[in-house]
Symmetry: C2
Subunit: 388 residues, 2 copies
């Protein structure tokens, strides 16, 4: 087991109607806040009104900034920073999914910084030392950004999708009400599930030995996600299934599941080039990239892939043919994705091979990617090709 | 699934030599600290010198208070509070196991309170609203107090063992170096293991349905503890096995494993009467009480006990005889305890039945105990009798 530190001070408030506590929580940190949200669906569902009522009750002044799109854009971040600085905002409240949260984190960091916010994300990466405090009402379980110190932003000028990380970007509180996810379509739900599973895979596939507890906790979380995805697709308003997926989405990405290990993250980097250029949902890209990555690297640690097959996918381990066991596990990942309606190839979502070279080159701009196996440009090209 | 909130802001610093970071962490909170420890073994092992060196490097002034015994006493707590108030202590550093941590938490709360510290623990229980910040170097994995908001203290005048809880009692940081546990004997180790498993049982055995992720995370943790106890008993200096048990001890008690559920806690209450009067190690008492409790209550939810048998103890579920499956699981708990050298009856540790009545009466002084099944005085008498 490797040494580690673990610090996740977010207060999780989970359950039915928990968004009604937002005023009470917010007033601990701010009096004049930026309310950041996405494409306005929160106004249609009535969530916006509920939130405003709770904030008003505590006499909190609210400046609105909506309009976050999936793969959140740097231009809106800059606008938000400007508002925060001019209006002396002291807290950011996010109502939304991963994109909105990541956009808010970028604004939070930029509002407390004199330079250009993109410095946190690109080149030598200026460390985020200070940020406005933020709180979250989560509406899409997927990105895990509600518990992580990370933020991913796309610079639409050049289509670079890059990330930063910092303890001050960890949310003060995250409100998780599974009922808020009832309106997600089957498609939106499984795209989130793909993202959640990918966050666990990135931490699970490691060359570090002896992290039994962490492995077993990861397997427990994956099994729960798989079971409850099937349940929720039968009934999009199954509260318990929605709740399991929502809580699993946070556990998948709060770094508990990498304690004592080192994560891989190559597949995320390979996917970021896809969604950066083609603006596809991140979870959809991951459903295509991850099985391709698995088939490309499994020989580097057949035992680990066999354990994954046995414990997560209930494959009967063939001790005489562990490679078959490992491959059977990967086949079940693919079969499950197919079953729940996720794409498995780039052609299915209309992406051809004309920009593979460009994407692979951008992906390794800061050096190689991956820990399970270190991948260079040619490896990434091969993964794109096998996923075409 | 039930609604819940989850807030565990302790910074965990885990790994070899992590105690050398104590000065650096402590200086974030205090300049004049109380160093609280137990019977002085830390002076024999060299840990004390390492800690002092790290603290001195940061120019931190240290007032020592050792002498904590298992089942920590109120009298030493009062002494500590007196020292803190007179010396203007601003931080408490604990080096030790659960008893020392619990003693420190009582001191931390009492130092910021004008009344009698026992008010937090007994009668109507004054809520702990403020406490000195504290940090921990853990030397015994067992109680989980390094991540919990709880403290258990014994008033030796009347032999009452009572608990309190409060967010301000959550440690700022907890340093976990598995190598510090190499000197624990096999006996000390398994007593800790019994405590760790009991913390999971208390949360696992519930009548709440639909908490799949929480169940699976608990099962993952139990399996890891069971496997690694066997490994560590083969080699008391097996780093990885020690590390798994240590990290599992924190996960077992940080309340992650009760998210969406309600814990039981009857067995802890029943045991507290034993260790309060007879001064036995808490983990030893729990090894005796828990299987007796399981046999007394299993019929109230045979499915849950069958799931426990199947998923944790690898019992082949007999769908035609789930009661047999449930009972087989309990038998395996008992067999495991016997295998690792824990007692299963009160007579083995020299406790007779003469004070059963008195203990059962004290146990329900504040009403009944337990959630899985509500237990009254007669029920508790029967559990003591079946464990005699």
């Amino acid at each position: 087991m490797e040494d580690f530190s673990f610090y996740r001070p977010t207060r999780i408030i989970f359950g039915r109607g928990s968004e009604e506590k937002v005023g009470e929580e917010t007033k601990k940190y701010g009096k004049k806040i930026l309310l950041h949200y996405g494409q306005g669906s929160i106004k249609k569902t009535g969530l916006f009104d509920k939130v405003m009522k709770s904030l008003k009750k505590e006499n909190i002044e609210v400046i609105e900034l909506g309009g976050v799109k999936p793969n959140p854009r740097l231009s809106l971040v800059r606008e938000g920073i400007d508002v925060c600085k001019k209006q002396n905002i002291d807290f950011i409240l996010v109502v939304g999914g991963g994109s909105t949260i990541d956009s808010a984190k970028a604004i939070a960091a930029g509002a407390e910084y004199d330079g250009d916010v993109w410095n946190f994300y690109s080149g030598d990466k200026v460390p985020v030392e200070k940020a406005l405090p933020l709180g979250i009402i989560l509406t899409i379980p997927a990105a895990g950004s509600e518990v992580s110190p990370d933020s991913v932003i796309t610079d639409e000028d050049g289509l670079y999708k890059r990330f930063t990380s910092g303890e001050s970007l960890i949310s003060k509180f995250s409100i998780l009400d599974p009922e808020l996810t009832f309106t997600l379509s089957a498609k939106q739900t499984v795209i989130g599930v793909s993202d959640i599973l990918a966050h666990i895979y990135e931490r699970y596939f490691t060359q570090v030995k002896n992290a039994e507890l962490t492995d077993r906790l990861a397997e427990a979380t994956m099994k729960t996600v798989i079971n409850n995805t099937r349940l929720v697709l039968r009934d999009l308003k199954d509260y318990n299934a929605r709740a399991e997926i929502m809580w699993a989405g946070s556990i998948a990405h709060n770094d508990l599941l990498v304690t004592g290990k080192t994560g891989d993250w190559a597949s995320h980097m390979i996917e970021h080039e896809l969604s950066g250029i083609y603006d596809i949902p991140h979870g959809e890209g991951l459903a295509i990239v991850f099985p391709a990555w698995m088939r490309f690297v499994y020989k580097d640690n057949i035992l680990r892939f066999a354990q994954f097959a046995q414990r997560v996918w209930n494959v009967d381990t063939d001790l005489n043919d562990l490679e078959w066991t490992a491959l059977e596990g990967i086949s079940r990942v693919e079969a499950f994705y197919r079953e729940i309606g996720l794409p498995l190839s780039l052609s299915e979502i209309g992406i051809g091979e004309d920009r593979f070279e460009e994407m692979a080159a951008k992906c390794v701009e800061d050096g190689s990617v991956g820990q399970f196996r270190e991948l260079k440009k040619d490896d990434i090209m091969e993964i794109y090709r096998s996923a075409k």
